[in-house]
């Protein structure tokens, strides 16, 4: 087992709080919203065209700077929830408000801009095999029309943050699983998103490397980025005592701060 992440968390706590406070103040000046929630789901129901209801009456508020575990058995609705957040699907009922914008009322043209506020990380990394680490991260900026002069410093910065500066010219197949996932995290971060969604980010990794990835996500969270992580990794969830939202059959059955993976009766 790796050194306890709790220790790391504690040592950087002060700096993180300061960083978070600065960030909140800076954003507070730009926005009118009082609660500063990154994500608000109200009464959300999702029924697919085949009649299957994946989510029922879901209410969820995630404030800026939160770290939330989304847990639940397969088929509980985690994937559907994530699809709603990135507007791959639209809620059948209720509202999904991301950073003040109602995704259901969003025009088609506005969707890409909203997606840039979210960084998403998958179990299977989704890296382009023919591109190097650096190019994979830069790709996210290139395809969103970022000027070249701003791409280089931004990519260098996030690669340093995830600790991949030395591997920048390697292709994904030359990397370990953990390094590949760190590349994916760097790509998710490079847009400076409001929210990182990690869908089973440790699902393909061994326990030691999983802890490494979790610690990276915690560090990113300390930098002020809100993190929503869907996972089956009970050990991690229980050890970290973060906020836990549990889904079952499309409903939120539990939402507690400092919770564990399984319900403690």
């Amino acid at each position: 087992m790796a050194p306890s992440p709790l220790v790391t968390t504690a040592t950087t706590q002060a700096a993180a709080t300061r960083s978070l406070r600065e960030r909140l103040l800076r954003r507070g000046r730009d926005e009118v919203e009082s609660d500063r929630a990154v994500l608000v789901l109200h009464d959300v129901t999702k029924t697919y065209p085949n009649g299957k209801t994946a989510l029922r009456d879901v209410d969820l508020v995630i404030p800026e700077g939160d770290f939330v575990f989304l847990v639940g058995p397969s088929g509980a609705g985690k994937s559907t929830l994530i699809k709603l957040l990135i507007r791959d699907e639209v809620a059948s009922n209720g509202s999904v408000v991301l950073d003040g914008q109602d995704l259901a009322r969003l025009q088609r043209r506005a969707v890409p801009k909203v997606r840039r506020k979210i960084g998403i990380v998958f179990q299977d990394f989704k890296l382009l095999p023919t591109k190097s680490v650096w190019e994979n991260v830069a790709f996210a900026l290139e395809v969103t029309g970022t000027p070249r002069r701003r791409i280089r410093p931004a990519v260098d910065r996030v690669l340093a943050l995830v600790g991949l500066t030395a591997q920048r010219n390697q292709t994904p197949n030359q990397l370990s699983g953990g390094e590949q996932q760190r590349t994916a995290i760097a790509r998710a971060l490079v847009h400076d998103p409001r929210l990182i969604i990690a869908d089973e980010p440790t699902g393909n990794l061994d326990p030691l490397i999983s802890w490494e990835i979790i610690q990276l996500l915690l560090r990113i969270n300390e930098l002020g980025v809100t993190v929503l992580m869907a996972t089956h990794n009970a050990e991690v969830v229980t050890a970290l005592r973060k906020r836990v939202v549990a889904l079952e059959e499309g409903r939120i059955i539990r939402d507690e701060v400092g919770g564990s993976y399984h319900r403690i009766d």
Partner: protein, 294 residues
């Protein structure tokens, strides 16, 4: 804007070569289809000019009374020329008619017996070319009423038969060309679709990181255009190499036709170029549309 175009062109170029096998397969399909299209176009052009040539052979010959005065003959010529169905009128004098007969006898290697004649038995005549062979009957009937006309050579039935056959062949040729065009369209669109589907993961990543539709679409459209232009260029080179045998075939098959090869070449370049580019762009556009934001 310029940055966007450069980005798209760069990505199209990279995309083409990073999936070289797929791209070359698409280009090869494009070449084969364009050759098919061009081949049928050439045959159709040959057929059409053969039909025009055949139709131009349908004409009305009006023989003039031997007693007609020069004034009457001139007036008659003007009257025929004024008819709306007529394109050209050629006057053949009695001497010219005789000379023509003698020449044709000589060409056929037969003995010229006209030297035994006391007088020239040939009447003067007007040879009338028509705007359309179907007018033959109308013009012939009108001329028969004229007192200065001795007789009109009756080509009514020939004209009707020629007209029927040429119309059928024209329609058939156009239909076949259209059908080939549609087949070519489907095959090319499907091939490019395969090349796009092979890169669906890349498109998915682009969508997830928030690329706008234009950034996803245009590199693929440019790539489709590249496939089209490469295909068209290769096709034209092949056709150029094969142009001598094709010309031989055309002359052999359609028999001594007044084919304008200069304009055929120009039309072919335009046809192959436009078809290649258009099909490549269309194929890419349709294929990538599936992956854009719903």
């Amino acid at each position: 804007m310029i940055g966007f175009v450069l980005f798209s062109l760069k990505r199209a170029w990279q995309g083409f070569w990073r999936n070289a096998l797929m791209s070359l397969a698409a280009t090869a399909t494009m070449v084969l289809m364009l050759i098919l299209l061009a081949g049928f176009w050439i045959i159709q052009t040959g057929l059409l000019s053969a039909l025009d040539f055949t139709e131009s052979k349908v004409e009305v010959q009006a023989n003039i009374n031997l007693e007609a005065t020069p004034n009457t003959i001139t007036a008659l010529g003007e009257r025929i020329q004024a008819m709306p169905e007529v394109t050209t009128v050629t006057f053949i004098s009695r001497e010219a008619a005789l000379a023509r007969f003698q020449q044709s006898m000589k060409n056929q290697g037969r003995e010229d017996l006209s030297r035994f004649l006391d007088t020239n038995p040939f009447p003067a005549s007007y040879e009338i070319k028509l705007k359309d062979p179907s007018y033959a009957a109308t013009v012939a009937d009108a001329l028969r009423q004229d007192p200065a006309i001795r007789n009109v050579l009756d080509t009514k039935e020939t004209a009707q038969n020629v007209k029927t056959v040429t119309d059928i062949m024209r329609t058939a040729g156009t239909v076949i060309l259209l059908v080939i065009g549609v087949i070519v369209l489907f095959i090319i669109v499907n091939t490019i679709r395969l090349a796009v589907v092979a890169r669906s993961e890349e498109i998915e990543i682009m969508r997830l990181v928030g690329a706008s539709d234009a950034f996803i679409r245009w590199p693929f459209v440019f790539e489709g255009a590249m496939v089209g232009l490469f295909g068209a260029a290769i096709t034209l080179i092949l056709l150029y190499v094969l142009s001598d045998p094709i010309g031989g075939f055309m002359i052999g098959f359609f028999r001594v036709l007044p084919l304008n090869f200069g304009s055929l070449t120009r039309d072919l370049v335009v046809l192959v170029g436009t078809a290649g580019l258009g099909l490549g762009v269309l194929g890419a556009w349709v294929s990538v549309r599936t992956y854009l934001i719903r």
